[in-house]
Subunit: 440 residues, 2 copies
Amino acid sequence: MSVLETTAEEALLGGLMSNEPGRAGAPMSAAPETLWEPRFAQRMHGIRASMIRELLKLTEKPDIISFGGGLPAPEVFPAEEIRAATNRVLTEHGTTALQYTTTEGYRPLRELLVRHMARYGVIVRPENVLITSGSQQALDLVGKLLINPGDRVLTEEPTYLGALQAFNAYQAEYLPVPIDDEGLDLDALERQLRSGPKFLYVLPNFQNPGGVTLSLVRRRRVVERAAHYGIPIVEDDPYGQLRYEGEHLPPLVRIDAELHGCGGGERAFTGNVLYMSTLSKTLAPGLRVAWVVAPETIITKLVQIKQGADLHTSTFCQYVAHEVAKGGFLDQHVRRIRAVYGERREAMLAALARHFPRGVRWTRPQGGLFLWVTLPKGFDTAALLEDAIREKVAFVPGSAFYPCGGGQETMRLNFSYAPPDVIEEGIRRLARVVERARKK
Amino acid sequence: MSVLETTAEEALLGGLMSNEPGRAGAPMSAAPETLWEPRFAQRMHGIRASMIRELLKLTEKPDIISFGGGLPAPEVFPAEEIRAATNRVLTEHGTTALQYTTTEGYRPLRELLVRHMARYGVIVRPENVLITSGSQQALDLVGKLLINPGDRVLTEEPTYLGALQAFNAYQAEYLPVPIDDEGLDLDALERQLRSGPKFLYVLPNFQNPGGVTLSLVRRRRVVERAAHYGIPIVEDDPYGQLRYEGEHLPPLVRIDAELHGCGGGERAFTGNVLYMSTLSKTLAPGLRVAWVVAPETIITKLVQIKQGADLHTSTFCQYVAHEVAKGGFLDQHVRRIRAVYGERREAMLAALARHFPRGVRWTRPQGGLFLWVTLPKGFDTAALLEDAIREKVAFVPGSAFYPCGGGQETMRLNFSYAPPDVIEEGIRRLARVVERARKK
C-alpha cells in the first residue's frame, strides 16, 4: 500500500481537522489546472482533508504498532468458508450472481436478516430491510433523505467520525450530548431535544469511539423522549454482537416498537427508529455488505436514493455473504471473534493499568473494538501523536470525534487488530510518550 | 425476484415521471407513521418513484420479451474465469482481499486501468484513477462535487436516465441539446454553452439511450468550445469497447489532453475532462467495479467525498476483477461479447425493417446495447406500453430520458439481452402494437 494512498483508517479521520485555505473568491479561469475548483459545490467547504491524515499515513509502516484504525483482525477472516461459498454460488447461481440485481438487495439475504433481527426481538419483513454498501452508505443515504443545509443532528459527544463525514456532505450542524459510562447524559439530551434536532444519531452498543454502552434505563428514556418530541432516531449498531461481558441489551428499535405496539402479527413495522448494522465486523469488511431496518415507507425512499447513488450493492458479495451465513456459520464464527477480541481487550486494559501514569482515565468497554482514554486537562493528544509515531505507536486523537470542537485531551485506542503481546508493547511505548509530555 | 422489488432495470426508470402528490404543508405529528415524512430534506422532491415502474414490473415475468432493461446477456458472463480468479485471490491474498482497503481503490487494479487507458492514447498515472462502485456512483460523486441547487447541467437530449437520477438528488436543472446521427447539435450546443452550464455531461459512444456516436469532427468541436467557455466535461463511456462496426474514435479526454498538451512524459495529467467507464459491460455488472480518470486534484476531492459515501468499493470484487483481467483475458472476452451483441444488433435491425410500418425511424448504433425508435408525431409510447405488455413485449418509453419533457413518440430498445430468435418475435409483437395504435 503506497503512502500516497488513503486507507480506510484515514477515511475515519478525514473531514474534521483541516487547515485547508478557503476557496471563496478564487478567480474564474479557463486554464485547465484551475478550471474545476471555482465550480465546486458549496457543500465541498464541509468536505475536507484531515491535518492528521499525513501523520496517520506513517502508521502504515510495518514497524509501527497501530491502535489507530478500526480494522478487524485479519486472522479471523473465514477465507476458506468464503472460498467454498463462492464456488457454490458460481456453480449454482453463476449468471444471476454476476448480473444486476434489485436495489433493495438480494431477497434471500434480506430474509436471512429478518430472521437475524427476530432473534433480537425486532419483528420485521423483507420489505423493511435494505442492503447497503457498508454502513457508511447507510449513513450517506440517511443524510440525503433527511438533512437540509443547516439542519442540526443530535449526536453523542464524541461520536463516530464516519457519520460526521457523511452528514457534513449535506451541510449538517450538530447538537452534541456528552456521554458517560452509561451513555448519553439525560439532562443534556432533554435540552438538546428541545433545541429542535432533525434526528438523533446514536450508537448504543460499545460506542465508537467511546467504548461505552447506553444502559437499559437510559435506552427506554431516549426512546420515550425522542417520541415525545417527535424526533426520529438513527440507531447505528455495528458491534452489537461483539459483547465480551455483561448481558445483551435490547436495541432502541425494539424498545420503540414495543412503545408503539407495532411489528409482529398483522401489524406492519412502523416507528421512530431507523436501525443499521453490518457484516463488516462479523464476516469481513471487504465485502461491503450492511443493512438498514426501517418502516417500509422509509425503505421505499432510501431505495429511490440508492438507485441514484450506486444502483445496488454488489450482487456477487451479497450472494457470497448469504451463502456463508445461511447455514448458521456466523453464529459459531462470532463466538470465535468474541474470544479473540475479548482476550485483546483484557490485554489492553491490563497493559493500561500496568503502564499508564496516575491521572489518566479510560473506559472499560463491554464489547466492540475501541476504548477511550482521557488524559489530564492540558494534554493535547494531537501534539502527542507526533512523538508517538517516533516511538512507533499510533492512536487517533480524540478531537476528531467531537462534532463541535473539544476533546484535545482524549484518544481512541483500537484493541481488535494487534495481538496481545503487541498490545502490551504498544501501550508501554504510549505510556512513555504520555510520561514525557507530562514532564514538559 | 418478487414483483414487489425494484430491479436495476426499474432503477433506470425512476425519478422522472411521477404522479406523487406534493408533500409541502404536511402536518407535523409524533405518530410514528407520519413522523418521518415532514422531516424529509427538500432534495427529496426531486427523487421520485416512476409512474411506469409498476408497469415495468410486469416485464419480469418470464413469458414477457423485454427490450426494456440494459442488462448484459448472462450467457456471456465468464463465471468459470471468475471462479478460478476468486480461488487464487483467496489463496494468495485471503486476508487483504477481505479487509478494508484504500478509498482510491486497489492499486494493482488502478495500475491495470492506467495501462488500459494508455491503449486509447490517454496517458495517466494511478493517482488519476479512482475505483467507484459502478459508474452510477461516479455520477453521484460528480453531482456532489459540482452541483449546487439550481445549477444547470448541459446534457444530450435524450440522455442517460441514471445520470438524471444522480444529478436530481443535488437539485440540478438541465440545458438539453438535441442529438442527431452524429451526436450533439453544434449550434444548440453553442447556445446552451452561452447559457452558463456548470458542466457538460456527454456519452460520446453508442449513447444511452439514443445509440448514436459523436463524430470525430464534433468531438473536436465539443472539446474546443467547452474549453473556450471554461466549462468542464464529464465523459461517460460505459460501452466504448463494444463497437460492432466502424473505427474506434478517440475519447474526449484524449482530445482535450492533446489540446492542452498535458499527460505523458513529465507533465502531469490535467485538463477539462473527467472520464468514467466500467467493467459492468465487459466483465460483469454484479461486481460493481467502475473507474474515474481525472486530474489528481479532482481525484483527491472525489476520494474525500467517497470516504463519506461508502468508504471504498468492495475489496473482494476489486481483487477478483484484477485477477480476472490482469493476464489479458478481458481482451479476448470483449471479442466474444462483440460477436454475440453484434449478431443481436443485426437481428433487431433486420426485424425492425421487416415488421415495423412505414414512417417509423430508428438509429443504427455502431456499438453498445441500445437503439432508439421514433414513431410519427402523435404517438405516445408510454400509452403504447400497456398494450405492449398485453402482447408480452416491453420497452422503455423515450420520455423517461428527456430531462425537460418531450419525446412522447420515442422508445428505447435493448438488443443485448435477448437471443436473435427472441428479438425477432419481440419486434414482431411490438410492430403489431404500433400498427394497432396507428389505426386508433
